[in-house]
Amino acid sequence: GRTRVHRKSSMAFPGQSAAAMDEAKQKVIAEMEIEVMTDMYNRLTSACHKKCISTKYKEGELTKGEAVCLDRCVAKYLDIHDRVGKKLTTMYAQDEAKLASQKSQ
């Protein structure tokens, strides 16, 4: 059985301690993170393939040029990904501020 100290139960999950719920929630978030990172990786790979790899496929090996392009492409994609995230949070924050000021009028 569980040897954890029971904090007060949640009304939504009767019989569940709050600590157990946090744990379940953490697990969901961790799984979500893996899924999201995998998706990001797949899109990154696809994007850089389009940008850097000739579709003539003259050979199976990466040319020097393709390899260098890929390195730069990955670096740039990750940079753009970060900037998009920052921009999104900024814009959502602006939206929320606007809504809040509208409601208070």
Partner: protein, 111 residues
Amino acid sequence: NRSSDLRRCGQDRSRPVKTAMTPNQQEQFEMHQFKDFLSTYNRLSEICFADCVNDFTSRNVSSSEDKCMSNCVEKFLKITQRASQRLQEHQTLQMEAMGAVPSPTQPPTKS
């Protein structure tokens, strides 16, 4: 706190919640919205990268690429908002046609 900022994103506070949800449903709904937001984030990165970045002589993002990315994100959000408005209008019309919802006495507001 970046992660809590990200968690708040994607929650549409402009529409009031019409039906009551249990705390459990509310939490699941928020999780779903958060997941949705993350998925949009990934798609948006891919789109804006594809359209804005074409110079691979360097690994640094240039200021013009950065400006393009910024405009790309703004446009995308406006696209989703506008498409959502049009969709709501369309669905309202459909429901009126089916007789499920009475026609409004005033003309629809323009936005």
